[in-house]
């Protein structure tokens, strides 16, 4: 059964990766907006922003931009699933003798691959713009781990609108608040510059903890308690999103 699950998941993942390979514009679109923000904030607004740090503004900004990249990338995860469902392809797979959850896992793995590619593209552009990291190998692995966990959590979240949406816009629309969330966090400016209630929100939402952790790791500095807050948010979101997504799958696709 598990061998079959792995085999079926691999077959179906190969199929959706081929979709992306044939229309790489989704990867480009995913990376273009974060890159535009990177350029805009570093070269236009950046000079006026006091981050009180020693590093350059691009170093300060990159972690938040990476989260925005992932948040816009998972909109395509929802869209791909929606289109498969719309076309009756999910149902065709459902009526076949394959591991049921393989259909979802294939989309989830594809999402991870697509987001890794987009994130790498954005990091390369940031390097060209002068981003430098003093991080060691372990720090970089930790960054990769946190970003993967964040992608996985948001991907399972994206499965829910992918299965339930009535239109393509509905499937992707849920991502906008997620793309916007970094703006009210420490991603662009330090939170202490914000008025009271906004600051309170910014300091207690997941993006700030994740951004601060990644920023410290990139700088090769010791991470504070933020890393535990960041991991707790990602793991918590993952568990909840996974539970809801699989329940939605059972409810919407069978009986």
């Amino acid at each position: 059964m598990t061998a079959r699950f792995a085999g079926d998941t691999a077959t179906l993942t190969g199929r959706s990766l081929r979709h992306i390979w044939r229309s790489p514009d989704t990867l480009v679109t995913t990376a273009v907006m974060p890159i535009a923000m990177l350029l805009l904030f570093v070269y236009v607004f950046g000079g006026a922003i006091d981050t009180r740090g020693t590093g350059s503004y691009v170093d300060y900004l990159l972690p938040g931009i990476l989260l925005i990249t992932i948040a816009s990338g998972i909109a395509y995860t929802a869209l791909r699933l929606f289109l498969d469902k719309q076309a009756g392809i999910v149902e065709r797979f459902q009526s076949m003798s394959i591991a049921r959850s393989a259909v979802l896992w294939a989309h989830v793995l594809t999402s991870l691959v697509a987001n890794v590619v987009s994130v790498v593209v954005v990091v390369l552009v940031a390097l060209l713009m002068g981003f430098r990291s003093g991080a060691g190998v372990l720090d970089l692995l930790a960054v990769a781990g946190i970003l993967l966990l964040f992608t996985l959590a948001l991907t399972w979240l994206a499965v829910i609108p992918g299965l339930t949406a009535k239109s393509a816009d509905g499937a992707t629309g849920f991502a906008y608040p997620l793309i916007f969330l970094p703006f009210i966090s420490s991603a662009f400016v330090p939170t202490h510059t914000m008025p009271g209630p906004v600051r309170a929100f910014a300091e207690h939402q997941p993006v700030t903890a994740i951004v601060n952790t990644i920023r410290d790791l990139f700088a090769g500095q010791p991470v504070g308690g933020d890393i535990w807050v960041a991991l707790a948010w990602c793991a918590g979101l993952l568990v909840v999103a996974y539970a809801f997504a699989t329940a939605t799958y059972r409810r919407t696709t069978t009986r």
Binding site: R22, S23, A87, G88, E91, Q94, M96, I98
Partner: protein, 260 residues
């Protein structure tokens, strides 16, 4: 030996709409059975129930000897479903679609199987083109070809020819005959009497949530009122007018725009 498909007292409602109100029928192994009914009669509901995609409210159904409610996995291993709307992957080529299904059905020599099926369904020339470029008839043929891979014992075809032009329809009919020649049991739905008559060994008419009649095409014909010859006044069509004006090259005795 039990029937390939046995349906007893099948009921299904959506909200307070009672779509199936006690459907009974059996399909013999290796035969072609047509479920005939108008739009909204519940044909798709029957097919989806038999394909384990819907759970019946009451009644029982078995496919290839397996209960659709309790032995879903065995049922799914015995069947293939071609839904009402061609569920083909438009971004992949025809061959890739077939390979995908072959791998998911764990067919040993997937590439050979795909090539043979492409040949039989007259899709060899288009095999390496993306399905997005296919005509409606080609998509349907590919869709049915995908169902045949892995030699399923029971094949469901939900309105295989709806929306196709007459020539494409003939192509699909040949595909259905091909499938039957493999020895599979076929249940197809249609709202064309002539299609049911042409393809099926038995026809059942689904109406008001029940099977109204069930018999061979000949038996069904005997139930119909005898054909009558009627004379109907027909207005000339634009085509008739055109030919009357430019000079008719068609057979003048049958149809020259004059009223009969």
């Amino acid at each position: 030996m039990t029937a390939a498909i046995a349906v007893r007292g099948l009921e299904k409602s959506f909200g307070d709409q009672r779509v199936l109100r006690g459907v009974d029928f059996e399909v013999e192994h290796g035969s072609i059975f047509a479920l005939l009914g108008s739009n909204g009669a519940g044909k798709t509901t029957v097919v989806r129930t038999l394909a384990t995609l819907l759970r019946p409210d009451a009644g029982t159904a078995s496919v290839n000897g397996f209960d659709v409610a309790r032995q879903e996995a065995d049922v799914r291993a015995s069947i293939s479903l071609t839904g009402q709307y061609a569920a083909v992957d438009e971004i992949l080529t025809g061959r890739e679609n077939l390979l995908l299904v072959a791998r998911l059905r764990h067919v040993p020599d997937a590439a050979d199987v795909a090539d043979r099926v492409l040949e039989r369904f007259d899709l060899t020339d288009a095999a390496n083109r993306r399905v997005a470029t296919y005509s409606g008839g080609m998509r349907r043929r590919l869709d049915i070809a995908m169902s045949l891979i892995g030699a399923p014992r029971v094949i469901f075809l939900d309105e295989p020819t709806t929306g196709l032009d007459p020539q494409a329809r003939l192509g699909v009919w040949r595909c259905v005959a091909e499938a039957a020649a493999q020895g599979a049991t076929i249940l197809l739905t249609t709202h064309y009497l002539d299609e049911a008559e042409h393809l099926a060994n038995r026809i059942a008419i689904l109406h008001d949530g029940r099977i109204l009649v069930n018999g061979t095409p000949a038996e069904l014909k005997a139930l119909l009122p005898p054909s009558r010859v009627e004379y109907v006044e027909r207005q000339p069509t634009l085509e008739d007018v055109f030919f009357a004006l430019v000079g008719d090259e068609r057979n003048p005795t049958t149809d020259s725009g004059a009223l009969s």
